[in-house]
């Protein structure tokens, strides 16, 4: 009896682990971006090594790239010769020197690494996928085994297409019921993190099971798997089904013709056995989940929008510090908090359905006075799709800014940031101190809650606007 994790893991063992040595695991897809790879390429140069499989390596620029328009990297260097720009220049050089295809500035395939892998169809069920980014678990939504790695490991994978791993334990998250109106996948994963805590998944591979999953779109599944690291789990996985295959069938990197049929046959075996054993199991009835918002400085400090901020324990220094930083008071709901910035974007919530949801809400409404709303599509391709159906116009007419693709305000290393002390309602994944800019205060929420908060000017329950 095997879990989904077991099935994918066992197919990728090059050398079995022993008491003294970890396993050597083969990697099918390596996503590379400009921030966590330069030192790995330096290592390759130092040791005179090549990239073993350039065709299994997909490179992009997302973290430190500005989301304002510019024509070429040369133009950008001319106007802004900063360390961030130099990092982009280095990325171009590294990809050129090592024969890796780069979704660079002028590429229609550029975007956030965890957005382009799936939309190109490079992310597929049963693959092992790594990236020097902790949100790599996103790709687990397709039944891939995907996890974030450090730069030393990026170097290992570039050089050998393999990495060293000890087998993690297995944690099942059983999801039942259907989402209520105004509640989304983001609220499910925030609820899970709140329930098990920010280290509840440490040492585990998380596997989502249960009847809810078949009702979720691929975008919703990606949002859930994306944030498993916020509960400490290195990966999150869901078994593929017809929704997965339908999503993939016309994607450029998806297998074609006979290869598709062959792949499909293999993918259909990627379901965890019913009686498979997990070291830990958690059950969540999603029909009881309400819109969720974080009140503190990690994603586990989260409440339903209609709840009050909890009282801290007397000795919980981190909790007290978090409330102080966020300028929130125990016993009061967040709905009294005035919003300065709303950010819709990031590898958690920047896909076409996320943007559509927010746009449909905001259509015919206005962003409240004094609120800056930034909408940042996850990729060039999403930007184009959105513009084709007029989503950009809806946002612009409401008073929001429509930007170029990138990580943007999720981590404030590209020119987009929340000013010190200001409150941001953000669809990203981390509300750590200073994450969105030094002194910035972040409330994590779904695209719908973010849009409602933008219109209302206060942290808002989207359900009050819905019929």
């Amino acid at each position: 009896m095997k879990t989904l994790f077991d099935k994918v893991w066992e197919k990728h063992i090059v050398v079995e682990e022993t008491i003294n040595t970890p396993s050597i695991i083969y990697i099918d897809l390596h996503l590379v971006h400009e921030v966590t790879s330069p030192q790995a390429f330096s290592l390759l140069r130092q040791k005179n090594l090549k990239v073993r499989c350039p065709n299994k390596t997909l490179a992009t620029m997302d973290h430190s790239i500005p989301t304002t328009p510019f024509a070429s990297l040369k133009d950008l260097v001319l106007v802004s010769d900063t360390p961030a720009t130099r990092q982009l220049v280095q990325m171009e050089k590294n990809c050129h020197d090592f024969g890796i295809k780069l979704g660079g500035i002028s590429s229609a395939e550029r975007g956030i690494c965890h957005v382009i892998g799936p939309e190109l169809g490079a992310t597929q069920p049963g693959k092992t996928i790594v990236c020097g980014d902790s949100h790599t678990s996103t790709h687990g939504a397709f039944g891939a085994l995907a996890f974030g790695i450090g730069t030393t490991e990026v170097g290992h994978v570039l050089a050998t297409q393999c990495m060293l791993q000890r087998r993690p334990k297995n944690l099942a998250i059983n999801l039942s019921g259907n989402l209520q109106k105004g509640v989304s996948a983001k609220d499910i994963i925030l609820k899970i993190i709140g329930s098990i805590g920010v280290d509840g998944g440490t040492g585990y591979a998380m596997e989502f099971r249960g009847s809810t999953i078949s009702s979720l779109s691929m975008e919703e599944r990606m949002t859930i798997c994306n944030m498993t690291i916020e509960a400490g789990a290195r990966t999150g996985m869901m078994a593929p089904d017809d929704t997965t295959y339908q999503y993939l069938i016309d994607k450029p990197h998806a297998p074609k013709n006979d290869q598709w049929d062959k792949s499909l046959e293999a993918w259909k075996t990627l379901v965890g056995d019913q009686e498979a054993k997990f070291q830990k199991e958690v059950a969540i009835n999603v029909s009881e989940v309400k819109p969720m918002v974080t009140f503190g400085t990690n994603p586990g400090m989260v409440i339903s929008i209609d709840e009050a901020v909890p009282e801290p324990n007397k000795n919980d220094e981190a909790f007290i510090k978090a409330l102080d930083y966020m300028q929130v008071e125990p016993g009061k709901p967040l709905s009294e908090k005035k919003v300065d910035v709303v950010f819709i974007g990031s590898c958690t919530n920047s896909r076409i359905n996320d943007l559509k949801t927010a746009a449909m809400f905001i259509q015919g409404r206005k962003v409240a006075k004094g609120v800056r709303m930034l909408v940042v599509p996850g990729s060039e391709s999403i930007k184009k799709q959105a513009e084709k159906i007029g989503i950009d116009k809806i946002f612009k007419e409401s008073g929001a800014e429509w930007r170029e693709a990138g990580c943007s305000m999720c981590l404030a290393m590209n020119g987009d940031f929340v000013p010190p002390g200001k409150l941001s309602v953000s669809t990203s994944n981390r509300n750590f101190e200073g994450r969105q800019g030094g002194g910035a205060r972040t409330v994590l929420a779904s695209p719908l809650t973010a849009a409602a908060s933008a219109v209302n000017g206060y942290v808002s329950d989207p359900r009050i606007f819905l019929d």
């Binding site: 990092q87 030393t152 490991e153 290992h156 750590f432």
Partner: protein, 190 residues
């Protein structure tokens, strides 16, 4: 990587739980293409105010913290991002080990690959260490022990492979590359 055998230092205590890698090294300092020089930005937003002046109450800015190489932190140190800049920044600053009850997975793995020692210990010993800052600590990698002045000597776990690599200063890439034949054979079957 240089071999690491023993670390002897006074302890530095940062008792907060869930210290994430964005606190250890904020993202805006990641626009570098090298590993060097990150120490000056370690815990930047806790060490310095908005004008760039040191915040006197922060433990790293206090005289008795100078030269401390062993950090004792609250539970779940290093959670968040996979940035290896976190252990690079700690090492560059001069901190060589962290002790807690729980240390986040990716940070833990990244640390060992750079000769930074992450140590998980039991709650009782952890509680003692948090309540007694500035004690002498001797970490012995060969014995996998921590000798704590005025408390006791205790063992900790480290997987044998990491221990071997640390003691001998071995880069783990070499281990994978020694299995080139197995990797070639695996690829042939794909």
């Amino acid at each position: 990587m240089k071999p690491v055998t023993k670390i002897k230092s006074k302890s530095l205590v940062l008792p907060l739980d869930d210290i994430d890698t964005d606190q250890i090294i904020p993202a805006r300092f990641l626009t570098t293409i090298s590993k060097e020089g990150l120490g000056k930005n370690l815990f930047y937003d806790w060490r310095f105010n908005s004008k760039g002046s040191p915040i006197k109450t922060f433990v790293l800015n206090q005289d008795e913290s100078a030269g401390c190489e062993v950090l004792v932190s609250g539970r779940n140190f290093g959670c968040g991002s996979s940035r290896e800049h976190a252990p690079w920044a700690l090492l560059d600053y001069g901190i060589k080990a962290v002790i807690s009850t729980e240390i986040a997975d990716i940070f833990f793995n990244n640390s060992l690959k750079n000769g930074f020692i992450p140590i998980r210990i039991d709650e009782e010993s952890h509680h003692w260490l948090l309540s007694n800052p500035g004690v002498d600590i001797l970490i012995d990698i060969n014995e996998l022990s921590i000798d704590i002045e005025g408390f006791k000597k205790l063992d900790f776990y480290m997987d044998p492979f990491s221990k071997y690599c640390l003691l001998n200063g071995i880069d783990q890439l070499g281990f994978i590359m020694n299995h080139k034949n197995e990797i070639d054979n695996f690829e042939k079957k794909l």
